[in-house]
Amino acid sequence: MSDIITARDLSLWYGNSQALKNVNIRIPEKNITALIGPSGCGKSTFLKTLNRMNDLVNSVKITGTVQYRGEDIFSPSMDVNELRKNIGMVFQKPNPFPMSIYDNIAYGPRTHGITAKSDLDEIVETSLRGAAIWEEVKDRLKKNAMGLSGGQQQRLCIARALAVKPDVLLMDEPTSALDPISTSKVEELILQLREEYTIIIVTHNMQQAVRISDRTAFFLLGELIEYSSTNQLFSQPFDKRTEDYITGRFG
């Protein structure tokens, strides 16, 4: 299994405050990698760095390298739009666009120049099927996406991310705003997506990390403390800080 993303000595500052400290990590392809750690530990910052969402923050300064399929993502020759097409993102709160279900999915492909209706129809169906929501919405594709339930909206957002045929999916607490049934549907979906995509997920739900991820990375105060197979990390953590955190005895 080859590594798809490799960070070396990655440090990041927001102004004077350092949010990531010399992070070294290799993320394998077609795996689910969970990022865990207390609030403010840097896990979301790390996630957003991977498709350069942090570019949007003015005062940000980055040292070290991140390679995606062997290419430096900070290199001037890197096409950021292409990078974000390949490395898609799903956020904590479902954020469908205020338009029809169909147009939500077609939005990305259209911006990438796909206009033929037959092509778009196919992408919409494949993406919605891929996100396990097709059966629920196929009869109301022209209805506004805002009318869907929270869980359906989140799966729609995953479908929207799939529509541009990404390689990697970044997920920032994708189920924290969902009820238990929607949560388990999204978890099932993530496990299915693992066949074709590399998934990196930030979660505050430790049991979720245990249930769905192959590897887990524990962050604390901007440092990557421990990174190993989920089974190993949750049964015999190497570092006492990891053990204290996962057993709920932190601090």
């Binding site: 430790m206 049991q207 949750f234 049964s235 015999q236 953590p237 053990e243 057993t247 709920g248």
Partner: protein, 219 residues
């Protein structure tokens, strides 16, 4: 943080110590009843065994409750799952102490059972049980390993008792039934040693995350 969980774990350890000491008491009493050939003493083992059975159910239910409520991971999960396995062996130890006591109550009153060998064997078995529970509570892998190692001592006593009984039968064929009773008792003591070894193996698992049956036995 998690002070309630820590308190519940503490209570679990206390219950295990209690159950372990009841096991010691049951074997010690059965062994004493044997060496004094005293059926009244032997009769006192039964209520202890009943208490051991009751504690097994109580600890089991508390462990299941902890798994459900606290969803433990890492060391917490290992300690609770080890406890669940250990109580099964402790319960068997209680049964075997009672089996010994029952045999004692049928041994004719004129027999002298103060054979040094079987007394020493009982002592060694009791020590194994005590040490295995201590090792769990103190999280002491060396002590757990010493329990596993001392199983050979108890097995060796068993062989010695067996040889001495063979001589007894050869010399006094009328003592055949009595010799078989003593052999049964020695076998029970040997089994108690095995259960103590099982406990010690789970203690090692709870500390290291590795059980000897498989290197992959991690949870």
């Amino acid at each position: 943080m998690r002070s309630r969980f820590d308190e519940q774990l503490d209570n679990l350890f206390k219950d295990l110590i209690m159950m372990g000491s009841l096991c010691e008491e049951a074997i010690a009493l059965a062994a004493k009843a044997l060496s004094k050939n005293d059926s009244k003493l032997a009769a006192k083992v039964h209520p202890i065994d009943e208490e051991i059975d009751r504690m097994e159910k109580e600890i089991e239910s508390n462990c299941l409750k902890l798994l459900l409520q606290q969803q433990p991971v890492a060391r917490d999960l290992r300690q609770i799952s080890a406890a669940l396995k250990m109580i099964t062996d402790m319960e068997r130890i209680g049964d075997q102490a009672e089996d010994i006591a029952e045999i004692v109550s049928f041994i004719p009153k004129d027999k002298k059972n103060d054979s040094l060998l079987i007394e020493q064997m009982a002592k060694a078995a009791i020590k194994m049980v005590t040490d295995s529970v201590d090792a769990y509570v103190r999280r002491d892998p060396m002590l757990a390993q010493s329990v596993i190692d001392s199983d050979d001592t108890v097995d060796h006593y068993f062989d010695q008792v067996k040889s001495s009984l063979i001589s007894l039968i050869t010399e006094n064929p009328d003592d055949g039934e009595y010799a078989l009773d003593i052999l049964m008792i020695a076998k029970y003591l040997e089994r108690i040693g095995d259960h103590a070894v099982n406990i010690a193996e789970w203690v090692l698992f709870s500390i290291t995350g590795i059980h000897k049956t498989t290197e992959e036995h991690s949870v």
